[in-house]
């Protein structure tokens, strides 16, 4: 009798879960979707998130709310996302390679791994750029490299944070040109870089195109090189590392949307479709252009592969950075 009762209860629960499951997949979303940004409001990631969310929510039929969970260079937000229920109602930005290096740096003691996130769709690929003050003696990348070879470890080069894409980019330059070492100064963000460059406290900055376009146009600073295969449409006069013969120095900050591991495949697809439509919307394209953010849509396997490749590349340079410190 008891056995029968247990069986029937189990069966009922199973049936309920199954029907509940299908009903859920069909009717997603029934309530607002949260879109997490692991940085404070006002940054490049946040700007992109708010542009796409405002368009995507019209297609989705439910509000898409941007939630800023900044702190600890993104780690606070990503830790939160990894712990969330994988039902599609909580998705968030992963910033490559920052998300990767947080995982890869043992000092960070991250409680999540790259596999804890399902990549959904990429929005922005912001290439790296090397820039100096307008009156700097370095007119080209060649000038900088020559100077670095002549006096290794004396030219002060600013990143936007330890193990950021900019830090990795410096390591790529040092790898491509043996002997040309820079004195790395870790600053927090683009505003701090601009202040210290203008004040003459650092000599050269590694950042992303999106952060410096207005200042290049105003003539306050000079971009030496864009770390990409092709020229940036925002800086058409600036050569690329590939053109100048450094094809291994390719670096970018790539921002896309992911969710916690375990989101039903149908929901991932639905979200990817909705977000893709939103990103192809002329309104999105125009607003991102104005903000100086280069859109690069990647979904499905393509994005998953990019995520994996970025991780492997980040791993190599993170390990190298750690090894250099021990010397």
């Amino acid at each position: 009798m008891l056995k029968l009762l247990v069986k029937s209860v189990t069966l009922t629960i199973a049936v309920l879960t199954l029907t509940g499951g299908t009903a859920f997949a069909q009717s997603f979303p029934t309530r607002p979707v949260e879109l997490m940004v692991a940085y404070p409001a006002g940054g490049s990631t946040d700007i992109g998130a708010r542009i796409v969310a405002s368009i995507a929510e019209k297609i989705l039929g439910q509000p898409m709310v941007v939630v800023n969970k900044g702190g600890a260079g993104g780690q606070v937000g990503w830790t939160d996302m990894a712990r969330r229920r994988p039902d599609g109602y909580f998705i968030g930005y992963i910033n490559l390679p920052a998300t990767n290096t947080v995982v890869l740096d043992p000092e960070r003691k991250a409680i999540f791994n790259v596999d804890d996130f399902v990549p959904i769709i990429n929005q922005v690929l912001d290439p790296g750029v090397i820039w100096v003050r307008a009156d700097s003696p370095y007119k080209t990348l060649g000038d900088l490299i020559d100077a670095a070879k002549k006096a290794p470890g004396t030219i002060r080069a600013a990143t936007t944070g330890i193990l950021s894409d900019d830090h990795l980019a410096i390591l790529m330059v040092e790898e491509a040109v043996p002997g040309a070492t820079l004195r790395i100064v870790h600053l927090v963000g683009s505003a701090a870089q601009f202040k210290e460059i203008m004040g003459g406290n650092v000599d050269v900055a590694f950042d992303n195109v999106g952060s410096i376009v207005p200042r290049v146009r105003s003539g306050e600073v000079r971009a030496l090189v864009v770390l990409d295969h092709e020229r940036s449409k925002f800086l058409p006069d600036v050569p690329t590392t590939k053109e100048l013969g450094y094809p291994t120095v390719i670096s970018s900050s790539t921002r896309g949307i992911a969710g916690p591991k375990g989101i039903p495949a149908a929901v991932v697809k639905q979200l990817a479709d909705v977000l893709k439509k939103a990103m192809q919307d002329p309104d999105h394209v125009q607003k991102m252009d104005t903000a100086g953010l280069a859109v690069k849509i990647m979904t499905g396997d393509e994005y998953a592969r990019y995520y994996k490749e970025t991780h492997d590349k980040a791993k190599k340079y993170t390990e190298w950075a750690k090894k250099m410190e021990q010397k």
Partner: protein
């Protein structure tokens, strides 16, 4: 005078209906905080930060700044009527203000306090407009080593001046710096003192800590005090007589000067200027025996000085990013929450915001004059609400405020724990201000020191080979040594240690 167009644009923005409403709301809240004895300006500002979350940054800052200087006005009312300072800066006002109330001249005392506050606040803001832009421009040439030295000087001033005992103040500064290191290392990204607790990765929030140290602790202290008798005053004779006015104007002028110049020095605290102004008046008075028996100068001078001080303290805060009191440290927290970093760069990056906020100081002072002169009777009525009800209300506000910061119960526990700690520290007569300033300046101090060392590839000589940096470090050393040998003026040392 290239700041005039900026200021006019600031006025245009500050006079928009929305910003005017924020300034007005801030003044009302500020006065309320000043009136309520269980709630000082630091805790009050902290509690009200969450309600500004939905506002744009400019509106939020306007409102919080108005709360800050509004509290300086409101604190007088309780000093005069029940002999209990509504906030610490009104301690000295009790002496003559309460005597005046006993003699039936309470209305005049409140009247001259409001007028003096208005004049002091306005004059200090005008001076701020003149002094701030060149100072900010100068500070732009500061690199990480100079900022490190500047912040160290700020902490030394706080430790050297804020307490009766230098060793106690240094201990509290060190404790504040230690607490500020909880969370992710600003350079290496490694968690420190977090013990695997994810809530600690971002460090302890300044707002829940201040709410606890000042708000909760203040309530615990106030509960212990006996209930005071409230003097009912007629508020008909608010304006001083010809004779009283004649006595007061000199006091107001000197109070403005003393308040403004002391406001420029970080770490003085809001009490010292009021003491200095009071003592100055007593010294130069031809009839010093009247002081303590209801002399109107004894109300006019300190009240003017504390508002001049409050507005002048905005100079080091806006131009250098150095908060000179716990309340301004909370205000700095609000800037940071809104993605703004106070300091010379803010003048360049967001002149619109800076000048709108400065313009709102003028408007706020005018609003406060209106709120305090004709409506003072209304505020006095609040004092008739029994403290037991107020205490519950304030506690509720604190808990809701701490929770709503980031919808985290963890912050509520942090606040409660800090409340208990704050109560114990006050009982032990240990100063809280150095702790709070250590906590808020800690991360920037550490970051600028480590960036400096990255610039020099680990060579400490970078701090002594740059002349400006060396000068600031020597000044910091002089302050600490001076405090150790008790070289500071006696009044500075003997004034209340708590802020």
């Amino acid at each position: 005078m290239d700041s005039l167009p900026h200021l006019l644009a600031g006025f245009a923005a500050a006079l928009s209906p929305a910003n005017l409403a924020y300034a007005f709301a801030g003044c009302v809240f500020g006065t309320l905080i000043g009136v309520l004895p269980g709630l000082g300006p630091a805790a009050g500002t902290a509690i009200l930060i969450p309600i500004t979350f939905k506002l744009d940054p400019t509106g939020a800052i306007i409102m919080l700044a108005a709360i800050y200087y509004g509290a300086m006005y409101g604190g007088t009312i309780t000093s005069v009527l029940i002999n209990v300072p509504g906030e610490a800066a009104s301690v000295i006002t009790c002496i003559d203000g309460h005597q005046m109330a006993k003699q039936g001249r309470g209305g005049t005392a409140l009247g001259i306090a409001a007028i003096g506050s208005f004049i002091g606040g306005m004059a200090a803001t005008i001076a701020l407009v003149l002094v701030a832009p060149p100072l900010a421009k100068f500070a732009l040439s500061f690199g990480p080593p100079e900022f490190f030295a500047l912040m160290l000087l700020g902490l030394c001033l706080v430790s050297g001046l804020a307490g009766r005992s230098l060793s106690a103040a240094l201990m509290m500064t060190a404790l504040g710096l230690l607490i500020s290191m909880i969370g992710i290392d600003p350079v290496r990204g490694a968690p420190r003192f977090a013990f695997g607790i994810a809530d600690l990765y971002d460090g302890l929030g300044i707002v829940p800590v201040v709410m606890g140290l000042y708000g909760i602790a203040e309530i615990l202290i106030t509960v212990e005090r006996p209930v005071q008798e409230i003097i009912r005053t007629k508020f008909s004779g608010l304006l001083p007589s010809r004779d009283e006015w004649h006595r007061s104007w000199g006091a107001i002028a000197r109070g403005t000067g003393i308040g403004f110049f002391l406001g420029l020095i970080p770490g003085i605290g809001s009490i010292v200027p009021t003491f200095m102004a009071y003592i100055a008046e007593k010294r130069i008075s031809k009839t010093p025996e009247r002081f303590g028996k209801g002399a109107i100068e004894g109300v006019a001078a300190p009240e003017t000085a504390n508002n001049a001080y409050a507005n002048a303290a905005m100079v080091p805060f806006l131009t250098l990013g150095i908060p000179s009191s716990p309340t301004i440290a909370v205000l700095m927290g609000a800037f940071i929450i809104n993605g703004l970093t106070p300091g010379p760069f803010l003048f360049q990056e967001r002149p619109d915001l800076v000048w709108t906020v400065i313009a709102s100081f003028f408007i706020g002072n005018l609003i406060l004059l209106i709120l305090n002169l004709p409506l003072v009777g209304l505020w006095a009525k609040i004092l008739h609400v029994p403290f037991k009800y107020l205490a519950v209300g304030i506690l509720l506000l604190c808990i809701m405020g701490a929770y709503s910061l980031q919808q985290s119960a963890f912050d509520v526990w942090v606040m409660i724990l800090c409340g208990v700690v704050g109560y114990l520290l006050r009982k032990l007569d240990l100063p809280l201000a150095p702790l709070v300033l250590g906590l808020i300046l800690g991360p920037a101090l550490e970051k600028s020191m480590r960036t400096s060392l990255e610039m020099s590839a680990g060579d400490f000589s970078i701090f002594v080979t740059r002349p400006l940096c060396l000068g600031l470090l020597i000044a910091a050393g002089v302050v600490v040594v001076g405090a150790a040998f008790k070289l500071a003026p006696r009044q500075l040392r003997d004034s209340e240690a708590q802020v």
